[in-house]
Symmetry: C2
Subunit: 503 residues, 2 copies
Amino acid sequence: MTEKLTALKQRLQEISDLTDALGLLSWDQSTYMPPGAAAVRGRQQATLGRLVQEKQIDPEIGRLLDDLRPFEESLPFDDDDASLIRVARRRYEKAIKVPPALLAEFYAHSAQSYQAWAQGRPANDFAAVRPYLEKTVDISRRIADCFPGYEHIADPLIDFFDDGMTVGRLLVLFADLRKQLVPLVESIADQPAPRTDFLHRHYPEADQLAFGLDIARQFGYDTERGRLDLTLHPFMTSFSPYDVRITTRVKEDDVSEALFSTLHEAGHAIYEQGVDLAYDGTPLAGGTSSGVHESQSRLWENQVGRSLSFWRHYYPRLQETFPDALRDVALHDFHRAINVVRPSLIRTEADEITYNLHIIIRFDLELALLEGRLAVKDLPEAWHARYESDLGVHAPDDRDGVMQDVHWFSGVVGGAFQGYTLGNLLAAAFLARARDAHPEIDGEMAEGSFTTLHGWLRDNVYRHGSKYTPPELTERVLGGPLTIDPYVGYLRHKYGGLYDLTT
Amino acid sequence: MTEKLTALKQRLQEISDLTDALGLLSWDQSTYMPPGAAAVRGRQQATLGRLVQEKQIDPEIGRLLDDLRPFEESLPFDDDDASLIRVARRRYEKAIKVPPALLAEFYAHSAQSYQAWAQGRPANDFAAVRPYLEKTVDISRRIADCFPGYEHIADPLIDFFDDGMTVGRLLVLFADLRKQLVPLVESIADQPAPRTDFLHRHYPEADQLAFGLDIARQFGYDTERGRLDLTLHPFMTSFSPYDVRITTRVKEDDVSEALFSTLHEAGHAIYEQGVDLAYDGTPLAGGTSSGVHESQSRLWENQVGRSLSFWRHYYPRLQETFPDALRDVALHDFHRAINVVRPSLIRTEADEITYNLHIIIRFDLELALLEGRLAVKDLPEAWHARYESDLGVHAPDDRDGVMQDVHWFSGVVGGAFQGYTLGNLLAAAFLARARDAHPEIDGEMAEGSFTTLHGWLRDNVYRHGSKYTPPELTERVLGGPLTIDPYVGYLRHKYGGLYDLTT
């Protein structure tokens, strides 16, 4: 049996190594690649992607997994080898269900659709992208249909990103959340807006980069196994837990964009770096889902990085770094400025609270498209209607309306959005649990130390990597399923300190 | 037949794409990779290397090549498709002759041997590396024996680097060359050494980098399809002609190291970028041999970049860039300083003339090891004896003696050195031919323009990539086989202007 396990591990490691090489091709594409290489890079990525896929669905993996079933069943559920076999089987069974021809069609269409969007969005030309989006909806439905037995057609698509999560569960969570958020946003919007002008003074690039990276290191980001580079659209990428890189972009007239994007991506990276190193090269390495990943980016960016405790320590340092810009700005004014709540059009620029409403709108529209209740041609109108009803804003065009996000134009419709809000909910739930176990966390934070919090997250969440599905992990860490209560409690407590929420 | 050709091209393109990904893993390893990733990166490289090798020896390629033989024979020799089939067949037939087990042994041993050298060299511990070198000689002989019918055991090894070149030819070329060089060096060494102290004043890093890259661009290096980064041991690497990168290292107390290493690597890169873009993804892309590649690095670095014509234009610019360091230094003094000829211990720091003697010593010792005339245990002594007789210098230890170069400790013994001197010979021969065709080249150079020279090299050498073997290319460009005459003529002319060579 050891021989079969070794053979399985060798195949999985080969897939992992190839996937890492593919990751490096993408990282390089977004950081240092010379512009003339764009077309060739696409071809290199397609070749490696095809090889990865061939190896993922190699029937020999299926045979090894079958042969290893008695061995797996002889081990406890939590055993690393049992978990490796279990997770590898789940991925293999998912992978073989989608016919290679459909997958090839999906990749080819995604690339074309992305091109159409990249040209059509600046031109505000929804008509140009519409046929691509229609085909994307069609392909998404056909991919979902490879997994018969679903309750909702979006369930198999969601499962790719947030294993074990369903439309049924999400609709309940999101409806409850929306009921809390809409009045909260309204009650804040009625009050005078805090000053934010000083956030847009002059902040030199090199100092911004050094300041953000210094905090990321304090959080627990290990630059012996990572690095920070500049890019256009910030991201985190991991080529094994030994090499987890983050990127950011800097505007010299904005002190918050690079800082919070760095802390966000560092949160993702700290999760990846915290996975048990023994899982390297196996399907257990890497975060377990989109939602759990987003919980860590959001925890470190928002629930820590925009907290008053945190800035009690770091604001004097920020003032020292940018004395001309911040000499006359008090801690509380700065803290209010980086936590302004204001209904707006653009998801990625939205505040911590309204962000969820952007997500819920997209999630609901995805379901309507997949169910066939909404035609792509009617999507712009439905978009505008929901933005007016939920956020009270109206995009002047489709560029910042239905064409705002890349997601629907470079992949499937369905599955890619819910993780952001699940992340907010999970972050608050994890943080509440960590505080229960270690009430000293906030005191430490106010002294610039995050060791206890990072240690708790590493021991309870990070080190497991993909060993547990999100529901398994939630059960294990929280002692039950995810609820919205910790998050709503967190928002009420935090924003109660910033605004009068008694109305 | 078109179908078979398409099938062959697809397979070759897959190999090319994987090789390019492997190249990016190495580039990243030497530039931006965080230190903690070292071990994992080695594994990723081994995985991709194994995949490339599997694909290179896939019998289906052999079948396609067999099927395509009548098609190939129906086409002119110079036809691109005929050349592609011819070159692919030559590579395939070479690749399948080495048993995978021997190749695996070679790779594993090379990695271990490199490790032993990296530790043993600083400790001056030849005893520690000796068993590794003994095994390297053994493996090298076994690899050579995979190609029966050779005249000299080093011939098959040389053929990997310089296709078509043999020990027989090289011994004649090198003996003739040595006969010219030794007295030339002696006659220069008798004369007063020029001043070089000003080369070691303070030269800020950023200015050095910008100055070198600016010249590389003027030579013809296209930074839309390339870039310059910092590294420990400078190199050029190419991931298709659309992405050809160079690296350098900078010492702020040395104006020449970064500059000439940049021009050297840029020469390699200009060659790669100049290959017909239609060859991308095929075995015709990339330079044809070690010697022809080195001819371009050496042509641009030395025969152009250390010439008086060149500095007539660039020296005033260098003085403007580093006014404090060079204000009091005249053009002719600077030109003499960067062309000092002086027998020394270290190959990579040797001047243009004595460099060849370092190469010839290594080449002769390689032959002796492979023939069994010299045992590894006696190599240090033989090394010191040759350095005394040929260069009149004696290394105080083995660190800068037999352990000086990485080559023997990270690959085969045999094949890796002759290309450097072949490059010098070829560079002079090509340049002489270009000057015959375009006598205006030197005048242009003195005005900072290299368009005519670059165009001639592109049309006659670069664009062909690997279409022609070195002997085929030499015949085509020079109208006959390579001789030492243009190089010796070049040296006599250049150094006759710097020293009194009438003695």
